[in-house]
């Protein structure tokens, strides 16, 4: 029998890297991962690298795992925390999450050390997708939203799609994911608060330049309402589709509880959708704010 009873982990159904999968025909699973490293990548963000069961490695860009976070303070962290996948290393059997240690869940993750175990459930939700006629895409994100967008560069690279990545941040030291984007041949442009290059007017000029140069068949964004609205405006004006990865407070992660609903505008009708199930990646034109 696979699985292990772990204190404060109410299941014997979670599996380690080499264990037999009790439900091999199910797309998602509960995995006890081995923490390989958990290091700071800059002054605000950490990267946790996990050794995981091969089923976990089926995650695609934009999908998320529901993380059973250790406690940062001795008290229970009751609910899992959803987090999008940063990188999947198929050959190494590894999965990575890039995060800002901020709330109780992420502060708990920050306490993990090499050799610790970490229970993750997934992969879940709808990830990014590329339409066959898109040859050039624009990825525009800010802050931790870039962690969600970064794996899109690999997806695009493998599909032969060119990426222009506009990375917005407070200052140059906390620009996220530049290396990952560049490793997949993306053209990277940094947009920084301290030199004014992240101003909406400047970003708009850059976007319009990309549209003129026919480098914008589709937009992708995450992490900023300001940037989402900018892309929506440009998308409407020039008929360019887009996708955005959304966030919401979440409980079950599979669509059962209806905690994570957000409002969308579909054919001029306001409707509620579950970020965990119908998303977290949605068509940009249907969103009502990030």
């Amino acid at each position: 029998m696979s699985g292990h009873l772990v204190e404060n982990n109410y299941t014997t159904g979670a599996i380690r890297a080499m264990e037999l999968d009790p439900f091999p025909n199910k797309p998602a699973g509960e995995f006890i991962c081995n923490v390989i490293s958990n290091d700071w990548v800059n002054e605000e963000y950490k990267l946790v690298v996990l050794g995981a069961h091969k089923k976990a490695l089926t995650a695609v860009a934009g999908q998320f795992f529901h993380l059973l976070c250790p406690t940062p303070d001795g008290a229970e962290v009751w609910m899992r925390r959803p987090m999008s996948v940063y990188r999947v290393d198929q050959s190494g059997g590894r999965i990575e999450f890039l995060y800002k240690s901020e709330g109780r869940g992420t502060r708990g993750i920050a306490t993990l050390k090499s050799g610790d175990e970490f229970n993750i459930a997934g992969p879940l939700g709808v990830g990014f997708w590329l339409e066959p006629d898109w040859k050039n895409i624009v990825v525009l994100g800010r802050g931790v939203g870039l962690a969600t967008l970064a794996p899109l560069s690999q997806m695009a690279f493998e599909a032969g799609v060119n990426v222009t990545a506009l990375l917005s941040a407070r200052n140059r030291d906390v620009v996220m994911s530049r290396d990952l984007f560049e490793s997949y041949n993306a053209d990277v442009i940094e947009l920084i608060d301290t030199d004014g290059s992240s101003d909406v007017s400047n970003v708009k000029n850059i976007i319009e330049g990309l549209i003129k140069d026919q480098k914008a068949d589709a937009f992708f964004t995450c992490g900023s309402n300001r940037l989402l609205n900018l892309l929506k405006d440009q998308g409407r004006k020039y008929g360019i589709p887009g996708q955005v990865a959304m966030e919401q407070l979440m409980v079950c992660g599979v669509g059962a509880c209806y905690v994570c609903v957000r409002t969308f505008n579909v054919n001029n009708e306001r409707v509620l959708r579950r970020v965990c199930r119908e998303g977290p990646v949605f068509k940009m034109e249907e969103t009502v704010g990030w």
């Binding site: 029998m1 696979s2 699985g3 009873l5 982990n9 109410y10 299941t11 014997t12 159904g13 979670a14 037999l20 009790p22 439900f23 199910k26 797309p27 998602a28 699973g29 509960e30 529901h66 059973l68 008290a75 229970e76 962290v77 009751w78 609910m79 899992r80 109780r104 229970n119 459930a121 879940l124 919401q248 407070l249 409980v251 079950c252 992660g253 599979v254 669509g255 059962a256 509880c257 209806y258 905690v259 609903v261 957000r262 509620l272 199930r277």
Partner: protein
């Protein structure tokens, strides 16, 4: 499906009979999801055919958006949540949701709710289709109006609404009671007398969390139902008290996170359990608990899990304090 070591008996079936009877309905094991915390979408993780029953989220006749967000807040000892029974109404449910559940073998238990007893009865009759096996009347949604919808705060209202539902459906009728009632035993009696076939004990406890940064309630609907393992001893006590007073089966719901909790509920008099929180925390919890329960019984030579129902040893509890305190721990 992999099974626990030592559980198979060499070909004649399982060594432990996990089946339980809820009235005329037989469940293959006592593990069911709790209404509201489950959907067929858990099929992403586990084989739903292993479950004792499938429980659809509470359905209302008319489409409802549900409550404003945020719909959940963590507290020191669990969460409070108020979802507001969102759904697309009875027609959509029968056409689109019931077929999703019909793909699986375990009986389908459909939770339903209304603020008006006559509309409630109509809903129960509309739900009485072949693919629905049980009508569970949610007469205890904690965030509904206390005079309409949350009937289970009063034995009189409970009797009235359950009687109407009883007359409206031939399906097994389970009544979900409220832990917020002053005397849940009297509500249980009223539901039994009105014709309920089983009792689900209990719905969530009404709670409140206030944010100290902005002085506002932490969830959009202000009040929320508490979901937590902390509720187990409280609800277990209610199940125990009700089981002494009613003859119909009880489904114990509150804070079950492991096989031993199922055993406790059954010892207290429950015939089955409903599980919510544990599946939120561990999406594979439901099937794990079934397997663990089988191993637990097998390790103790218990051939039928139903032997546990009401098997609490609570006679001769009156012991002289000095005698008790002279014994070891």
């Amino acid at each position: 499906m992999p099974r626990g070591a030592g559980v198979q008996d060499g070909g004649d079936g399982w060594m432990v009979d996990l089946s339980v009877e809820i009235g005329e309905l037989t469940l293959q094991n006592p593990i069911t999801p709790a209404s509201g915390s489950f959907s067929w979408e858990y099929d992403e993780f586990i084989d739903l055919n292993e479950l004792g029953g499938l429980v659809a989220k509470t359905i209302c006749r008319e489409p409802r958006d549900g409550n404003p967000t945020p719909r959940m807040a963590e507290t020191e000892a669990g969460i409070i949540q108020s979802i507001g029974l969102p759904g697309k109404g009875i027609d959509y449910f029968l056409e689109n949701i019931v077929p999703e559940y019909a793909k699986f073998d375990p009986p389908l238990i459909v939770s339903c709710s209304s603020e008006d007893p006559d509309e409630f009865a109509l809903l129960a009759s509309e739900l009485s289709v072949p693919d629905v096996d049980v009508v569970e009347c949610n007469i205890s949604c904690p965030t509904r109006n206390t005079s309409g919808g949350n009937f289970a705060l009063s034995d009189e209202h409970t009797g009235e609404v359950v009687s109407k539902l009883r007359a409206a459906t031939d399906k097994p009728l389970w009544a979900k009671l409220s832990p917020n009632a002053g005397d849940i035993v009297s509500i249980a009696r009223a539901a039994e007398e009105a014709g309920a076939d089983a009792l689900c004990i209990a719905n969530t406890f009404l709670g409140l969390k206030i944010r100290t940064d902005n002085f506002r309630p932490a969830i959009g609907n202000k009040y929320g139902g508490m979901v937590s393992p902390a509720l187990k001893p409280i609800v277990l006590r209610m199940v125990y008290q009700c089981a002494k007073e009613v003859k119909i089966p009880i489904i114990g719901i509150g804070g079950v996170t492991k096989a031993e909790d199922v055993v406790e509920y059954m010892l207290a008099g429950a015939s089955a359990v409903g599980i919510g929180y544990a599946a939120f925390r561990n999406p594979t919890a439901l099937t794990s608990i079934i397997r663990d329960l089988e191993v637990w019984c097998d390790n103790r030579g218990i051939k039928r899990v139903s032997e546990l129902i009401g098997a609490i040893k609570d006679e001769d509890m009156e012991m002289d304090t000095l005698t008790a305190a002279s014994q070891g721990v």
